[in-house]
Symmetry: C2
Subunit: 214 residues, 2 copies
Amino acid sequence: MIKNSARPRGRPRSFDEKQALEAATRVFRSKGYDGVTIDDLVAGMGVGRPSLYSVFGDKRTIFVRALRAYAEAKGALAAKALFSPPTVRDSIAGFLRNAVETATEEGSAPGCLLICVAPLVDDLEVRRFVLDAVAAATALVERRFRDAFDAGEVPSNFPLPARASQVLDLGRGLTMRAQLGTPRKVLLKDADQAADLVLLPPREKAVPDSQAGR
Amino acid sequence: MIKNSARPRGRPRSFDEKQALEAATRVFRSKGYDGVTIDDLVAGMGVGRPSLYSVFGDKRTIFVRALRAYAEAKGALAAKALFSPPTVRDSIAGFLRNAVETATEEGSAPGCLLICVAPLVDDLEVRRFVLDAVAAATALVERRFRDAFDAGEVPSNFPLPARASQVLDLGRGLTMRAQLGTPRKVLLKDADQAADLVLLPPREKAVPDSQAGR
DNA sequence: TGAGTTCTGAACTGAATGATTAAAAATTCC
DNA sequence: GGAATTTTTAATCATTCAGTTCAGAACTCA
């Protein structure tokens, strides 16, 4: 039972757990996973080595925790960008612009923890998490498309699942370009153009959805 | 047949330099850059440690050499895929399918040395090389679009540069998904759908009443 | 065959790295 | 104020790693 009014008990921590995790995220974003040493984390997070181990665990655990927090925060932003605007075009544009903004935010190295660095981590748990996150994001976009479909905003032959995964692919491409140093301004423009692209009506190939693709 | 009348001089090498470099590529593809140790390279390339250093140099140099060879080989394939087919749709589809095939080729871990691992390497030379390679690939696609434009294959308001970079972004997305384990079959289908997408005619935007659209 | 040349295998070294330990410091509870 | 509790600072340990050295093996040339 936790006594709410009382401070924990012994010597208070000199760091904020959440902030430290964010700092860890910055470190991993700038140096990848394997490129990061414990000393990098100690320096970047402002947490002493023993505290690091006792509070956060080893490097792998720190990464997983940082990744989870990151995905949660960014996922919420993405969902907001996706479901706030009234038109589907603005939703998709917002989603992609949000990805660009995340990938080019100041104070962190350009890139994305979830898209650029996590997929390279040789760890089963991380891999599963990334796969789930990607699936969730795709489902989110697809759902937004479905809403648009129901609202008659897109034509009846609009290939929802294909377009949804194309939105994700375009987002990944934008993010990778961000990491390579492409300026935010350029990427924001490209995000808008990408939104225009994925909302183009498909060629009239006729019949409903008995045959997808091609 | 080797014209050189004189075989090099002393003890012949027990490995083929080119094959060893390809083996190095496989090692880097499967473990990234920072995750690779010299022992990994020694084991994977079948080259003794001292030979490694004397013939290839240190890890960074090996990576750069592997990357250059890789980019040259894959770049040639991409150009071929892009400029062989008669229709621009098949060109773009071939380009993207080729990217998928490269990213899912057997015998190597899924992914792409140039797209997935090189951008994360914290090295100026590598970064420059990647940027140049991306620019070159984009220019290639744009040129193919331009050819199509000249042939009247795409409408006059077709936004060539935007579509070219979108093709690259989609390719990056497909490649990243390959690395995450998406099956080749799925990706090949998506590559085709992506080709269809980027060849859709843009919306006519010179229409008099511009209030209905967006 | 023997001298000269180049490569290979194994051992070696210094530095970096991951992780732990022990004692000092800061705070709450009594 | 003092005991109990928790964090922090500093030091330590074992391991791994990058890069080198050296003796010997494999080859060419004369």
